[in-house]
């Protein structure tokens, strides 16, 4: 009843091609952004910013990067964490070594560095596909972490290999409160998500999808495989690199190569699998699910145990949390193999018919 496009006529190509052709969607996204930019900073506490919202946004960005590569261009990758590491270390080096380097510029340069490394490790994709490619990107994962540990230059000769990043300052404004850092991360993520959404709707995105669905057919209709695949690697790594830089500068404040382990790559991969492969929205839903559910369980389980009078200690709660988390992932994958984004879509379609489904 409320979600129906009846009466919304499109009289121009521009109107037909906009990102959200339905007015209710436009209003919805407008409200969402208004809440994120205006209401959240006013009401959320430090815990929400530092432990929930900022990591959620950063991992959404990384998942978005991987989704471009895996979901849209069909190239399976297990190196996302490594590209994040490249971004984090590159941004750090640009900041520390170049006097007066603007932070935003160093984030962009970090993304570009990661893109360069991504292209390098994307080269095998020209010859191999599927699981074999996943193994090749696994090499990136191990090589980059090894490289960052091995060469002290990359961590500015820190005796421990851990880098501790300088504060973020743009045009004299210090981003030292959690709320300001949240707004910075949010702005960057929104801008990049918008860019990604437009990219996948453009000829570039269509070329990616053609390659994903059948690369021989794509080549026959005139899509240059090498360029398309490497572009997907570059764009994906750029996103992961920026996410890595934000991870170091706006979230943890200090990072070590070991933090960007294969576990993190898997985590990002699970985000897009649970959220929805080949969906911008899915990256956000997946990141929310994978990141926030464990925290939610961690907080609610002891309370629940207390209520039921069960003698749970911290370790038991952690074990139960892992079990519940695993069970929920399986449940969602069985109920909806296409991820949470597909559930959302089904929900919207049902809503269009509601309350008269016939």
């Amino acid at each position: 009843m409320i979600y129906r496009e009846t009466g919304q006529f499109k009289t121009s190509y521009a109107a037909d091609q906009q990102i959200f052709p339905i007015r209710q969607d436009r209003v919805g996204i407008g409200i969402l952004l208004a809440v994120a930019f205006l209401v959240v900073p006013a009401v959320a506490g430090n815990y929400w910013f530092n432990a929930i919202l900022i990591p959620f946004l950063i991992f959404s960005l990384a998942a978005l990067g991987l989704n471009i590569l895996t979901g849209y261009a069909g190239q399976l990758s297990l190196g996302s964490a490594a590209f994040m590491a490249v971004g984090a270390y590159a941004a750090y080096n640009f900041q520390v070594r170049v006097e007066g380097m603007p932070v935003l510029l160093s984030f962009v340069l970090a993304g570009l560095t990661a893109a360069g490394v991504g292209i390098l490790f994307g080269l095998p994709s020209l010859r191999i596909k599927g699981f074999y490619l996943a193994v090749a990107t696994l090499a990136a994962q191990f090589f980059i972490v090894w490289c960052l540990t091995k060469f002290p230059y990359l961590s500015n000769n820190s005796s421990s290999g851990v880098i501790s990043v300088p504060g973020v300052e743009i045009l004299g404004f210090k981003f030292d409160t959690p709320a300001s850092r949240y707004l910075l991360v949010l702005s960057i993520v929104v801008a990049l998500a918008l860019l990604a959404k437009n990219m996948v709707r453009s000829s570039t995105g269509r070329a990616w999808m053609a390659v994903r669905d059948m690369d021989v057919a794509a080549e026959v209709i005139g899509i240059r495989l090498m360029r398309t695949k490497l572009l997907a690697f570059a764009v994906s790594s750029f996103y992961c690199g920026v996410a890595g830089a934000l991870y170091a500068f706006c979230y943890l404040g200090s990072v070590e190569p070991d933090g960007f382990s294969l576990d993190l790559s898997f985590k990002i991969l699970f985000m897009i699998i649970v959220g929805g492969v080949g969906s911008i929205m899915g990256s956000f839903l997946g990141a929310a699910f994978i990141l926030l559910l464990p925290i939610f369980l961690d907080i609610s389980l002891p309370a629940l145990a207390g209520l039921l009078g069960l003698p749970f200690d911290g370790a038991t709660v952690s074990h139960i949390q892992l079990m519940v988390f695993g069970a929920l992932i399986m449940f969602f994958l069985i109920v909806e193999p296409h991820g949470l984004a597909r559930l959302w879509q089904i929900g919207k379609e049902k809503l269009r018919l509601w309350p008269f489904p016939h």
Binding site: P55, T149, S164, P166, G253
Partner: protein, 444 residues
């Protein structure tokens, strides 16, 4: 009038409740809150169980003895799984509770403490890193809120070298020492110190890294066999330690020429290695065993009352359990020191606890009073020395228990401390921190 009556009613009912529970009413008011970002599951869960078990047991013990001059201790645990991001989440979750009257924060993880150094300083919460963490925080002028108490990796490495030197009639010239280390922040910290020692004492230093987690060390030990070193100094953690000890046995390297760091010298490392571990040595800043009066008393008082934290009581008196107790002793002593200055019987805020940590003076006499003689070295901190001791003992595994070989050995402070200051100065420059003037503060 009605309000007054209400207050009276509440006061009398509280008093009645307290009388009933046989707890003096005055104590309930003041509380000191310890946030414990602990880990009991994950790859290092076994280590965390012992350490935090000991820590909590001592806090319960202090509470049973009437608290810190009447101030009761409360605490809350949050599972970090030794994971940095989770550690930060735990810290943020518990931070608001700790704001009023915090105890020093112990993460027992180098990675998490690195991530918390800036945050804790911004939130004015004291961060303790006993025997791990950001070692350049020894320089309190740059790191007012971080305390690598008792001793650091660098001083430990230096003390081990001193021990070896004494063993070799005062000279290591021409000897070859392999440094086998966990390839992470933890393993890399002592390298600068060892290099400095090798220049000073003219021994050959060969560095061999082991990738995390270190459960496969065939290649590294092949190399050690080729190098034929006189000693192997090992900075291992978790599964790496027992693998190293077992591989050494397989390769025929005598274990009594292997010396581990204090994170490579607990029962969790030697017992699983079985026979191979006999003769293996390690440094430690706290001794094992239940013959320390304090540990025996904790067993009697806390476990006697059924309030013990450990489920597996065989861990009582192990190295890591005693280390947890030692860490808690220092934290409580810091709060006592703060109370002595700012008012006895009151809960201390972050700034006051920080002052207490910076002005610790735990003498042998004080340790005796607590019943902790020999458990840990004497500690005296100041603005420019957040370490406070720099002493370790060497111990050897006899196949069933750790036997202490030496008295406290102090590392070469003149050689090592300038390294910390240089590192801290670099950190201050990168971050744009203006260091405090310790000399001027001392005069005040």
């Amino acid at each position: 009038m009605i309000k007054q009556f209400k207050q009276l009613a509440i006061a009398s009912s509280v008093a009645a409740a307290c009388l009933g529970a046989a707890i003096p009413a005055a104590q309930a008011a003041e509380e000191q809150f310890f946030m414990l970002p602990s880990y009991r599951v994950g790859p290092y869960g076994a280590n965390g169980q012992s350490f935090y078990g000991g820590f909590i047991d001592y806090l319960s013990y202090v509470n049973q003895k009437g608290g810190i001059d009447g101030v009761q201790i409360t605490w809350e645990e949050c599972e970090t799984e030794y994971n940095n991001a989770k550690g930060v989440e735990c810290y943020e979750r518990m931070k608001s509770k700790a704001q009023k009257a915090p105890g020093p924060i112990h993460t027992m993880s180098t990675g998490i403490s690195y991530a918390l150094v800036d945050k804790a300083a911004a939130d004015k919460l004291p961060l303790a890193m006993m025997g791990y963490g950001l070692t350049s925080a020894v320089d309190g002028s740059v790191f007012p809120w971080a305390f690598p108490l008792v001793t650091t990796y660098q001083m430990q490495a230096s003390a081990i070298i001193k021990f070896l030197k004494d063993k070799n009639a005062g000279s290591l010239a021409g000897k070859k020492i392999v440094y086998l280390y966990h390839d992470s922040a933890y393993g890399k910290e002592p390298i600068l110190a060892l290099e400095a020692e090798s220049r000073l004492n003219k021994f050959d230093l060969v560095q061999i890294p082991v990738a995390h987690p270190g459960n496969e060390q065939g290649a590294q030990w092949q190399r050690i066999r080729q190098e034929k070193p006189d000693y192997v100094i090992m900075w291992g953690w978790g599964v790496m330690n027992m693998t190293a000890i077992k591989t050494a046995q397989k390769m025929g390297f005598p274990r009594d020429r292997m010396i581990g760091s204090w994170w490579a010298g607990s029962e969790e490392d030697t017992v699983p290695a079985g026979d191979a571990a006999k003769g293996y040595m390690s440094a430690t800043w706290n001794v094992a065993g239940k013959d320390v009066p304090l540990i025996a008393d904790i067993e009697k008082t806390v476990y006697g009352a059924g309030k013990g934290n450990l489920k597996d009581t065989s861990k009582l008196g192990t190295i890591l359990y005693n280390r947890g107790v030692s860490a808690a002793v220092l934290s409580v002593e810091a709060i006592r020191a703060a109370q002595a200055k700012h008012g006895k019987g009151k809960a201390m805020n972050g700034e006051q606890v920080r002052w207490g940590l910076e002005n610790l003076n735990i003498t042998e006499a004080r340790l005796k009073q607590i019943g902790a003689t020999g458990l840990l070295p004497d500690v005296k901190t100041s603005c420019d020395n957040h370490e406070g001791s720099g002493k370790v003992k060497l111990q050897q595994w006899d196949g069933a228990k750790w036997v202490v070989l030496t008295d406290w050995i102090e590392g070469n402070k003149q050689l090592i401390h300038p390294l910390f200051q240089a590192d801290a100065a670099k950190f201050a420059k990168e971050k744009g921190i203006t260091p405090r003037n310790c000399a001027a503060e001392a005069k005040k």
